[in-house]
Symmetry: C2
Subunit: 304 residues, 2 copies
Amino acid sequence: MHFEVKILGSGSATPAWGRHLSSQIINIEHQYLMIDCGEATQFRMIEERIKVRKLNHIFISHLHGDHYFGIFGLLSTFNLNGRKNDLHIYGPRGLDEVIVTNLRVSNSVLGYKLIFHEINIQENEKTQVLLENNIFKVTAILLCHRITCFGFLFTAQSKSLKVKADKFPKGLPFELIREIKLGNDVNWEGKEFLSNEYTYSKQEKKVYAYCTDTIVQKEIIPIIKGADLLYHEATFMEDNEDRAKATFHSTAAQAGRFASNAEVKKLIIGHFSSRYKELDLLLNEAKEHFETTDLALEGRSFMI
Amino acid sequence: MHFEVKILGSGSATPAWGRHLSSQIINIEHQYLMIDCGEATQFRMIEERIKVRKLNHIFISHLHGDHYFGIFGLLSTFNLNGRKNDLHIYGPRGLDEVIVTNLRVSNSVLGYKLIFHEINIQENEKTQVLLENNIFKVTAILLCHRITCFGFLFTAQSKSLKVKADKFPKGLPFELIREIKLGNDVNWEGKEFLSNEYTYSKQEKKVYAYCTDTIVQKEIIPIIKGADLLYHEATFMEDNEDRAKATFHSTAAQAGRFASNAEVKKLIIGHFSSRYKELDLLLNEAKEHFETTDLALEGRSFMI
């Protein structure tokens, strides 16, 4: 199963040190999903040669500008490119209003259907399923920031047939084995080989969790526990813990401890404050608490 | 007098071929003014090392996204940088509404005062003075586009004293001449030299006209006649004249003929359609009608 997370930007608040603002492209079995859309995201998509036509779902975590100011230009470019496919946008209440206001004042009519899905999680619920099909599911998670903010959990599931190799007779040609693996019955030297006798079904599950902007939320550990990959913000370092707390952000150390407690397989950190030019100090701080950590640098792809 | 036009972007509609969207910085005697603010303008300002603190006036020509989607991020960055100075924004009705809507949904409060000046020109008026001080004047001009659109005329005036060099006695020290030129009276070898007897006042006037997006408007020729520099859009080439007309844009040839009729000293063309990768063909087409033409490529500075 192909499950890839491509980082388009991981700066916070304002552009600094050549870093772009929050946006990621998730590729699950060649279905493209976008998380957050900071200013200049469409420029980053061009640089990364991501075809905008393939994008049908955009998830916006919250309404601070560094996470959504790029959506207006992207919607406009979709239109200029002659898009006809429906576009689904998931985000907090208010996102629809700013989009519609921009379209109205510019007298713009989109040539495609824009479907807005409001994310609205009550305090006692913690999650909301946003999208589910036979390949993946997207769930919003309530985070804790200065304004309403959501994380996202991407769960991909696939069933594939595995062959019982030890049951095959010697000499069975490879091309016939491939047919059996695809679920087809075959004949060889007068004998019938039924696929369901020579294969077993294997379920594969991969999970990606995206958590920004937020103070570390222990309450959501049961939700993301054991995820294959966790993106967690690390806006500050531990020596700025007070500043992190006051602005409802996290430190690199907190992100590392959180990843450790949630027993995820890998952590990537991002949403770096513009005060940090070099990021290795943040990486090292997180690694002290969770070794399998990497920087979510723009342009990087993480395969799950 | 320092009068400089710096091009931040000159693409139209959508980013293409590495070109950014419309924005220019005008520097008149080290007072900075911005015209238009397409998406990613704040990124371009960083690249060009333009200090955002120096910018107090932003002029938006019209409400198509490629001319204003960058303003939200810029206002936010001003705030994060601790700006205290008033910021004046001039644009069509509706610009204030989208800005206020964005601020409201993101629960943002700016630490500086935002003063919106609505540009509103009646058909029989053609111009509106937006800003006037002892150094320069900015006038909006009614253009003709699919939606309400304004050009801008920047007129800088300065008075300086020139010395009547032939009246000076031989041997008068240079440093005393400099004092006289500054308007000060001096004594030399027992004789008094009154500045107003040895100098005359010279008025210097420089004019920059910015016209995009529009079909060529012969009616405004009397307004911009003889300008030192004219930026005119050249979205298409002449073989797409029908397309230019249908979308209320101009061709390079039309821009050239317009510059010639308006007897400006120099023309720069921009707002290039994404269909053109190479721009020399547009330049040559304009030059056939007006030799003193240049491409308004991003990063270029034009001194007036």
